[in-house]
């Protein structure tokens, strides 16, 4: 049914068909399991028909969004992609990059032009069986981005991908697939942004990000989530690292009424390394549910993770983090830290850092804290003549600094503004 409408290759029709079956057959997430204990899965079920094609937004209405995106990246981007409501609107790729063999295209277009290449990667890291909402995206995605970096290309400047939601669609399911070949390096920004337009907000966003890192490659991946306050956001990202590959993931989460974000790394090759620096800043009645999953499947792999949460008003955060070290993965090191600061009376933080260790030649630790803002540094700053509000801003800023400093350039300024904006309203 789906494939005939979309005029897609047979393999993709088959993939979508299987995913659709999985979406129908897979049991609804079990709320007894800790991953769904605090978050109602009903929030991520599409209101309408998820398979109905979203209408491309008229150029006029997209123009202001493009300006915002351009503003944010300034001069630094080497390439740029903008999608609206899950449909790819624009891809800008300078000629010199194109000639180096780099591919950046809308996912749909990439399937037309690089059929075999896309087929060998699409849905391999986040297959339909991994969950109901994962299956839904694989069955229903309309567009997204495909990025391919050939062997030995080191991109100096970042690539920006924007997933915009203007509320015209009740459901959008963008999908991003990036393949980085041996020895290449890349900085990638993916930003989910939304605005309330005429009272409508992008209600359901179900996004999947699959990242394949070849031997010795490096990816700096920054994800920013600034969806509108009414949005329900489901995101799963997985990176698979071959031998000696390295990735640094940064996450900054601000938006959505309900957000469930699952960010994972599979350390599949010996010596691979994954670092994560992220934070979520919740306000009002936001419900932010973050999960990280670091799977050590090969010897001598390393992971380090630092996730910070700041909550005010009645916001609620759930953080679940898993480190799994396989039997065949000796000499691994894994470290995980989750710190939560509650600024207001009604705020709530849940933290579940988990370890599953199947072999003994490892060093593995995790730590978690929940508490109010430390009064000592605030007192110190005030004793130096800094007003209390300012002092709080500085201390919270310092708390989030490990993630903030890893966001390059203009985007960092923009994120800092977001943090300050939230603190000003505190």
């Amino acid at each position: 049914m789906i494939q005939t409408i979309r005029n897609e290759p047979i393999w993709l029709g088959g993939l979508r068909g299987k995913a659709l079956e999985a979406y129908r057959d897979l049991p609804f997430p079990d709320r007894v399991r800790h991953l769904w204990r605090y978050t109602d899965p009903n929030a991520f079920l599409p209101d309408g028909d998820p398979f109905r094609q979203n209408k491309p937004a008229p150029a006029g209405s997209i123009a202001p969004w493009c300006e915002v995106c351009q503003d944010e990246i300034g001069e630094e981007a080497s390439a740029l992609g903008i999608a609206m409501n899950g449909l790819t609107h624009q891809v800008t790729l300078p000629e010199e990059l194109r000639s180096s063999g780099l591919i950046l295209k809308g996912l749909k277009q990439a399937i037309m032009e690089h059929d075999g290449l896309v087929e060998s990667f699409l849905g391999r890291l986040i297959p339909a069986e991994s969950g109901k909402f994962e299956a839904l995206n694989l069955a229903a995605w309309q567009d997204g981005f495909f990025l391919y970096l050939p062997k030995g290309v080191e991109l100096g400047r970042p690539i920006h991908l924007f997933m915009c939601e203007d509320g015209a669609a009740s459901f959008s399911a963008p999908r991003i697939l990036a393949v980085i070949e041996e020895g290449s390096s890349l900085t990638l920004f993916t930003e989910f942004m939304g605005q309330t337009v005429n009272g409508r907000t992008g209600r359901q966003v179900n996004a999947m990000v699959e990242l394949f890192l070849g031997e010795g490659s490096r990816l700096d991946h920054v994800t920013v989530q600034r969806l509108s306050p009414g949005a329900h956001f489901y995101l799963k990202s997985r990176a698979r690292l071959a031998r000696d590959a390295r990735t640094v993931s940064v996450l900054a989460a601000f938006g959505g009424a309900m957000a469930k974000v699952d960010s994972g790394v599979v350390l599949a090759g010996e010596g691979a390394e994954g670092e994560f620096f992220g934070f979520a800043f919740g306000e009002a009645d936001q419900h932010l549910d973050h999960h990280t999953e670091y799977e050590h499947k090969a010897p001598r792999t390393r992971s380090q993770l630092d996730f910070k949460v700041v909550l005010k008003d009645r916001a609620r955060s759930i953080y679940t983090g898993l480190i799994r070290i396989d039997k065949d993965a000796p000499y691994c090191e894994a470290y995980q830290e989750n710190r939560n600061v509650l600024l207001s009376e009604g705020a709530q933080a849940e933290t579940i850092p988990e370890l599953e260790i199947m072999t003994n030649e490892v060093r593995c630790t995790h730590g978690a804290t929940v508490g109010p803002l430390d009064e000592d540094p605030i007192f110190y700053l005030m004793s130096r003549g800094i007003p209390r509000e300012e002092a709080i801003r500085m201390v919270v800023g310092g708390f989030l600094e490990p993630a903030l400093v890893r966001i390059p350039g203009g985007l960092q300024t923009s994120i800092r503004r977001c943090v300050e904006e939230r603190l000003r309203r505190f």
Partner: protein
């Protein structure tokens, strides 16, 4: 409720009474005393009747059985092992006399060896191995008992407690762990037998640790024991359950319920060292409430069993109450120690400390599963959770599943966990001082669990160290 059974039961009393007189011989099998396998209302009715219980307890048992039957099997933890339990293949009530049937020859070799190494007296060995039904400790501990009675301390088995102090029992029984709590608590509520009942009057300090040994008999170590400890205002008591010596039973399910109540300013410490034989499922619900200024401490050691699921918990209900949970688990070959701790902060300025140490060896699996919950009204709380795991070899597994739910703004919660192997530098250092590899490793393991051992009474600590030594040598199992 099964009224039919009731009538039938009545009709049968007295049958066989005059056998000996009429026929000159006596067949010792009593009709309803020989329990049958499996569980239904008939078994529960029979049990309650034989114990001569009041109507409220009988009804409580029946109600609990309904809850047990209607509750699905828990869907978390080691579900493979849990789903393998065949509830219809278990004796739910076995009278002491029936237990005498076992022979010493049937007792597994490793259990006998452990007795030897620990130097357990012969009479005790037979009792622990389930060969002898009675172990007369009353005489030995007579003076201790007298001393307690003078202070007004009640210390009996649960069945006696129910008979002699019904008012107290009725007031507190099942108020901490209702049968609806979980499937195994429901099962225990339906078929409980034995366990301890302790009441400490206000202001009384029970100076010596109370041990089940003081009144040891078969009712004591039932499969479905039920313990209730009430420490009245300002009193102090330390109770020790079980023993380091392995307890052998052919019945594969042990499911106890332990309720502790620490009233204002009271102090309860509950020490357990569990060393069930390795065919046993040990699925236990242990919970305490601590009122204003009270302190509850669980000291919990898990060495035996095939699968243990045990999460001693404390509900801090009054301002300034304190919880401390200290646990050690040793998972050897084929074992899964799924232990942990749970603390609920429901009052301001309450504090809790959880320390968990686990060791996995020879493919064993140990899991820490914990929950700390701080309610919005519980301001100014402090929580500290620390889990350390030691993996002895590459086949073994360690999991850490802590959950922290913090709903109060000014609570301070800290959690830390580590997983590692025995450190090479430490081994190297000790071996350079002339210790063998085995000795060095044992010393490090003993050091690792030292925070636990030092909290035990001396004789227990000594036995525990010997047991760990045996486990490390691989001479057990």
């Amino acid at each position: 409720m099964n009224t039919q059974v009731e009538q039938r039961d009545w009709g049968l009393t007295g049958i066989g009474d005059d056998y000996a007189a009429r026929w000159g011989f006596h067949d010792p099998v009593e009709y309803f005393h020989k329990g049958k396998k499996g569980i239904d209302h008939e078994v529960v009715e029979m049990m309650s009747r034989m114990k001569g219980e009041q109507d409220w307890m009988r009804q409580f048992r029946h109600k609990s059985l309904d809850i047990f039957l209607s509750k699905p099997m828990i869907r978390w933890g080691n579900t493979d092992l849990l789903n393998a339990i065949n509830f219809s293949d278990i004796f739910y009530y076995v009278r002491p006399m029936e237990k005498q049937g076992q022979s010493w020859d049937d007792v597994p070799e490793y259990i006998k060896k452990t007795f030897d190494r620990l130097g357990i007296p012969a009479a005790e060995r037979k009792f622990l191995a389930g060969v002898s039904a009675q172990y007369e400790s009353e005489v030995v501990y007579h003076s201790v008992r007298e001393d307690l009675t003078k202070k007004g301390v009640l210390f009996t088995d649960m069945d006696t407690g129910l008979k002699e102090h019904e008012g107290l029992v009725k007031k507190y029984f099942s108020t901490i762990i209702p049968p609806t709590d979980n499937k195994f608590a429901a099962l225990n509520s339906a078929v409980w037998s034995g366990g301890s009942f302790i009441y400490v009057p206000p202001g009384v300090d029970v100076a010596i640790p109370l041990q089940a040994y003081f009144r040891i008999n078969m009712e004591n170590m039932g499969q479905f024991e039920r313990t209730l400890i009430i420490a009245d205002k300002g009193s102090r008591v330390h109770y020790i359950e079980g023993c380091t010596a392995p307890i052998y039973s052919t019945n594969s399910l042990h499911s106890a319920v332990v309720e502790l109540i620490a009233l204002e300013g009271a102090y309860i410490r509950y020490t357990t060292i569990q060393n069930w034989s390795r065919n046993i499922y040990n699925l236990v619900t242990k919970r305490a409430v601590a009122y204003k200024g009270a302190t509850v401490e669980w000291v919990d050691g898990n060495l035996g069993s095939r699968l243990t699921m045990k999460y001693p918990s404390v509900y801090l209900m009054g301002e300034g109450a304190k919880a401390e949970i200290l646990s050690v688990a040793f998972a050897g070959k084929g074992q899964h120690q799924d232990a942990g701790a749970k603390v609920v902060h429901a009052a301001p300025r309450t504090t809790s400390t959880i320390t968990s140490k686990s060791i996995s060896k020879d493919g064993g699996r140990s899991s820490y599963r914990g929950l700390v919950k701080v309610h919005p009204s519980a301001t100014g709380c402090k929580v500290n959770v620390r889990c350390d795991a030691l993996l002895i070899d590459p086949q073994s597994r360690s999991d850490t599943y802590p959950t922290m739910e913090i709903e109060a703004k000014d609570c301070r919660m800290e959690h830390e966990a580590t997983v590692s192997k025995v450190g090479d530098e430490q081994l190297f250092y000790l071996m350079s001082r002339g210790l063998s590899y085995q000795e060095a490793r044992l010393l490090i393991v003993n050091g690792f669990i030292e925070p636990f051992t030092k909290e035990l009474p001396m004789e227990y600590a000594v036995e525990l160290n010997r047991l760990i030594a045996m486990e490390m040598e691989g001479s057990v199992g």
